[in-house]
């Protein structure tokens, strides 16, 4: 007899998350178009994309979990393994590479003692290299929990890692990190407004997948 993996324990989304999901679905003429934003929602909900999350997304848009996973597994930014609390993504595409991203990445790896693609045993820091993140003007660029820091140097990169390890900020806010560790920017992003910060994945804010200000998401 063939052995088939039997269904894992299913934890459903809470009513409020489901409600938010259906809000998002309503923004599209075809429910299945909402798959990608809902995957962000699932990630925000559990910290990364679990089978459970993908199953919930499938239910919300009327696809099978296999179809949702087909989308999710194409994109490396949908994390299907639990990253550390801080995910440092270092761009190594051409503009950044020309301006020294290889050294920046090496500095991050060295300072954090985490090789790209991995997470430290304390599950605090994950490091990865990524393809162009659309910040060529501010190369070399990194993101921390998808919040952008431009004009990186090896020194600043090390400082960033040390800061994450010691300060352990509740939420990563791009503008704040830029102030602390960034250099030349691609353009003026405007003044930093701490009150509008969203956490722990502020970058998902514009997708409507995160509701309240920082702290709302905890627990």
């Amino acid at each position: 007899m063939v052995e088939i993996r039997s269904p894992s324990v299913r934890r459903g989304w809470s009513e409020s998350v489901r409600a938010r999901a259906s809000e998002i679905v309503k923004q599209y003429p075809e429910p299945r178009s909402a798959v990608m934003p809902l995957l962000y929602l699932a990630m925000a909900e559990e910290g990364y994309l679990t089978d459970n999350g993908m199953r919930e997304v499938a239910g919300a848009v009327g696809l099978t979990p296999a179809q949702v996973r087909a989308v999710a597994s194409f994109y490396t930014m949908y994390k299907r393994e639990n990253p550390g609390r801080y995910l440092i993504s270092c761009c190594t595409s051409i503009s950044c590479m020309l301006l020294g991203s290889d050294e920046v990445l090496r500095a991050i790896e060295d300072e954090s003692d985490v090789t790209a693609g991995e997470t430290d045993p304390a599950e605090l820091i994950s490091v990865e290299h990524v393809e162009c993140i659309g910040a060529c003007g501010g190369a070399p660029a990194v993101t921390v929990n998808y919040e952008l820091i431009e004009g990186m140097t090896t020194e600043k990169a090390r400082e960033l890692v040390r800061w994450l390890r010691t300060a352990r900020p509740e939420a990563i806010v791009g503008a704040e990190c830029q102030e602390l560790f960034g250099g030349r920017r691609s353009f003026d992003w405007g003044a930093f407004d701490r009150d509008s910060a969203l956490g722990p994945y502020p970058a998902f804010g514009p997708l409507g997948t995160v509701s309240g200000p920082a702290g709302d998401q905890e627990g």
């Binding site: 007899m1 993996r5 039997s6 099978t64 087909a70």
Partner: protein
């Protein structure tokens, strides 16, 4: 039809329908273009690039994929020039880069499109010296299908099939990029009723079926074309055996019926044929009351003597016959002739008290053809869940709704496989069908939209019994109403393999072979051949069982039927068998019914006998023989003929083919049926016309509500159940869902039970224990129990049951 266009393929002008894909036009005109991903029954995707050809354009020659390029007038195509050849070699070299070339241990070797096309169009050598992709091989993706991702060439045939055709996309491309693979969701296996089709259409050995893996080499297989007898659709199949053992069934692309597809039940439900439990010798009940093996002579003497005694004591009407819907028309005819002319009874039924009025089934006016679904403006499905009971019809309806734009109205007590394609779905409480029909006729309220959809003619209605509690009159009343819809045709549904053929051969009290009704001229003509026909009207299945229970009927002849498991009121059937004076059974197995017989004759069956069957639309198709029957088993007709001889009657039957000729002579509508033609020119079968002109009568079907403290019961079949053929097919047996009680969440809450908890379901005629399944597709107050599951007693054809913790 639009004006055809002219295309020049390899310097030859051909005409084609505009919009048709080039690959198809070429093929229809004798030019084969190699391909992997293109499949004539699915939408093109252009995944594999194997079908590259060169067409002329104003800007010079252009390489295009012929599977995604529609023909246009004046198009000039070259499929063989050096640049096409180079492209083909290039594509194959690429496809082989990651292919493991483990052909010696691959089931597909010898019938593999990748092998064959590499042979015909490939480069002959590879320049690739690097490491190939590696995957764990092979992995089970369901109980029936294994996947070897290294062999996969990513043609998307399997994934498209499950999305476009069967509508259960449980497999998809995962990890797209360098490591693209077909796979399921980690904990949701590819449990599709149609999974075997992906194995058949996979152009490599990536998908293999567990029942067939490593059983044979393709070049060792002997095969014959035949017809599936699991349901009444008449699916065309290719039976394949090695060393006299049936090993594999493939679907044939027959336009009027299955169009290449099969359900897994058709495909894998043949293992029972070689089951060690098959009867190999006649059996007679001895003085101790045990069935023991006997010689044919002894068993026939015993059965003939005992039957003869009943007949001389109480007349032929004290004898009844049940069954005949599982075999061929020839066997059914022999059964009908045996009962009527050797025994002298009209009490015979091939349905198990679970079907519809036989006149409606075989004789309704405006009877639809399956192909009518193709041109339908709208379709009404009110009957069994097609996906469970008529799987290939389900595919045809799905295609009509999904690809051909037909409106679809589905009315059923719970969710069905078609709901996602239905324009309108109405769920109702079993027993309230009459009310639902009135609503539909009025077209108000929730039915307004349904009527709107059904105002688009031509309307095709598929009508049957949604569950066993419901009156068969509901389908008839619905049919009567449907006739008022625009250009309506009706396909009445009954599921048993050859039930329509059996009815055509007269296995119903009021019908005689050729859909002749008793007392007509045709009946008179029959009497000239058969001798005097019994005058007393006969009983149907239910009344036969009641007669056996009360003693009015003393003897029963059973042919390939298991009333104890199959009649919804299994308790009644059991009591009937216990009280029966004499039961003579012709069967392939000792079933719960034949086990209680006094004499059992071992019968040949599927793949062992030659003959014809008649499908749901009256299409007569040939079934052929590939394997020998086990032991001393014999065809039904021969057993019946010998039994008649013991009663002093010569039925005049000498072979199945001779029977078929006798039917041809006697039954007007079967005049066009001829074995020779069915094997050659008419492989897709011939539809026997001549309905009875039976006009369905509208009668008010009274609604029944469960008594207080009871819930309404929806009691219906699933594809896999505890029928003897499933039970004796080891690959399918574990797939039966088992005893279950589906409850609406609100009822589960009321009873304080959750998924998996055990409840007792009790009706007036039986009670069972079942695991709770939370089923929000039901109406509150309804419990759905799948019929005939392993180790579950019957609840009877009732509408109300008590459900308790």
């Amino acid at each position: 039809m639009t004006e055809p266009v002219t295309v020049t393929i390899n310097r030859r002008e051909v005409s084609a329908q505009p919009g048709e894909m080039l690959i198809k036009t070429a093929q229809d005109n004798g030019v084969y273009i190699p391909r992997f991903c293109w499949h004539p029954r699915m939408n093109p995707v252009g995944m594999c690039r194997m079908c590259l050809v060169e067409i002329e354009t104003p800007r010079g020659p252009l390489m295009v994929t012929s599977c995604t390029t529609p023909v246009s007038d004046g198009m000039t195509v070259d499929t063989t020039n050096p640049s096409v050849k180079k492209a083909q070699e290039g594509v194959l070299e690429f496809l082989l880069i990651n292919h493991p070339l483990d052909c010696p241990v691959c089931d597909r070797a010898g019938e593999c499109p990748l092998q064959d096309q590499t042979m015909a169009y490939g480069p002959g050598e590879s320049r690739f010296v690097e490491e190939k992709r590696h995957f764990e091989k092979p992995i089970p993706i369901s109980e029936l299908v294994m996947l070897d991702r290294e062999r996969c060439i990513l043609c998307a045939r399997c994934t498209r099939f499950s999305e476009e055709i069967s509508g259960d996309p449980l497999i998809e491309f995962q990890e797209r990029g360098n490591y693209t693979e077909v796979n399921t969701f980690p904990d949701e296996p590819f449990r599709s009723y149609f999974s075997g089709n992906t194995v058949q259409i996979c152009p490599v050995g990536a998908l293999t079926a567990t029942p067939y893996r490593f059983r044979a080499r393709p070049w060792d297989l002997t095969f014959v074309v035949s017809t599936c007898q699991h349901c009444s659709s008449g699916d065309r199949i290719n039976l394949q055996s090695s060393q006299n053992r049936l090993l594999r069934i493939l679907g044939l692309d027959s336009e009027p019926t299955n169009q290449g597809w099969l359900s897994d039940k058709c495909r894998f439900g043949f293992e029972y044929v070689a089951s060690p439990a098959r009867l190999t010798s006649p059996m007679v009940r001895d003085e101790e009351g045990e069935l023991r093996e006997a010689s044919w002579g002894e068993a026939l003497d015993y059965a003939g003597g005992a039957l003869g005694e009943v007949i001389s004591r109480s007349g032929g009407r004290a004898v009844a016959g049940l069954g005949g819907a599982r075999g061929t028309n020839e066997d059914a005819y022999a059964f009908s002739k045996f009962l009527r002319s050797a025994v002298g009874t009209n009490s015979v039924d091939c349905q198990m008290d679970d079907g519809l009025d036989p006149r409606l089934l075989s004789g309704i006016v405006d009877r639809a053809r399956i192909a009518d679904l193709e041109g339908a403006g709208s379709i009404l499905v009110w009957g069994p869940d097609l996906k469970e009971e008529h799987p290939t019809l389900y595919l045809r309806v799905r295609r009509a709704a999904q690809e051909l734009g037909a409106g679809l109205v589905v009315i059923h007590p719970r969710g069905t496989g078609l709901d996602d394609r239905a324009s309108v779905k109405v769920t109702y409480q079993p027993g309230r069908g009459g009310e639902v029909l009135s609503e539909l006729m009025d077209g108000n309220g929730r039915m307004a939209e349904a009527r709107e959809v059904l105002s688009n003619g031509p309307v095709v209605a598929l009508l049957g019994r949604p569950g066993y509690g419901e009156s068969p009159d509901l389908a008839e009343a619905t049919a009567a109403f449907v006739r008022s819809l625009p250009d309506a045709t009706i396909l009445p549904l009954a599921r048993r393999g050859n039930v329509f053929g059996a009815l055509d051969m007269g296995l119903s009290p009021a019908l005689l072979p050729g859909r002749a009704q008793r007392g007509t001229l045709a009946a008179q003509m029959l009497a000239d051949r058969w001798g005097e026909l019994p005058a007393a009207s006969g009983r149907d299945c239910r009344r036969i069982l009641e007669g056996l229970e009360s003693g009015d009927i003393e003897a029963l002849v059973l042919v390939g039927a298991d009333p104890v498991r199959d009649v919804p009121d299994g308790g009644l059937a059991r009591r009937a068998f216990e009280n029966a004076g004499l039961v003579v059974a012709i069967d392939q197995f000792l079933t719960d019914s034949s086990r209680m017989a006094d004499v059992v004759f071992p019968a040949m069956g599927f793949s062992e006998v030659e003959g014809t069957v008649t499908n749901i639309e009256g299409r007569v198709l040939k079934v052929n023989r590939l394997t020998p029957g086990p032991g001393q088993s014999r065809p039904d007709w021969a057993i019946l003929s010998d039994l008649a001889a013991r009663l002093g009657v010569d039925l005049g039957l000498v072979s199945a083919q001779q029977i078929s000729q006798e039917v041809e002579e006697l039954a007007d509508i079967y005049r066009s049926v001829n074995w020779e033609r069915l094997d050659w020119e008419d492989r897709d079968g011939v539809v026997v016309g001549g309905d009875l002109g039976y006009v369905p009568v509208f009668s008010q079907v009274t609604s029944v509500s469960p008594r207080s403290g009871e819930m309404a019961l929806h009691y219906a079949r699933t594809m896999y159940d505890d029928g003897v053929m499933m039970r004796e097919s080891p690959s399918l047996r574990p797939l039966a869902p088992g005893s279950a009680a589906h409850l609406h969440p609100s009822d589960a809450a009321r009873l304080g039970v959750g998924e998996g908890d055990s409840v007792d379901v009790t009706s007036v005629s039986g009670s069972l224990q079942a695991g709770v399944v939370i089923d929000p597709t039901l109406e509150p107050g309804v419990v759905y129990v799948p019929f005939n599951q392993p180790d579950t007693p019957s609840l009877g054809s009732v509408l109300g049951v008590k459900v308790s913790r």
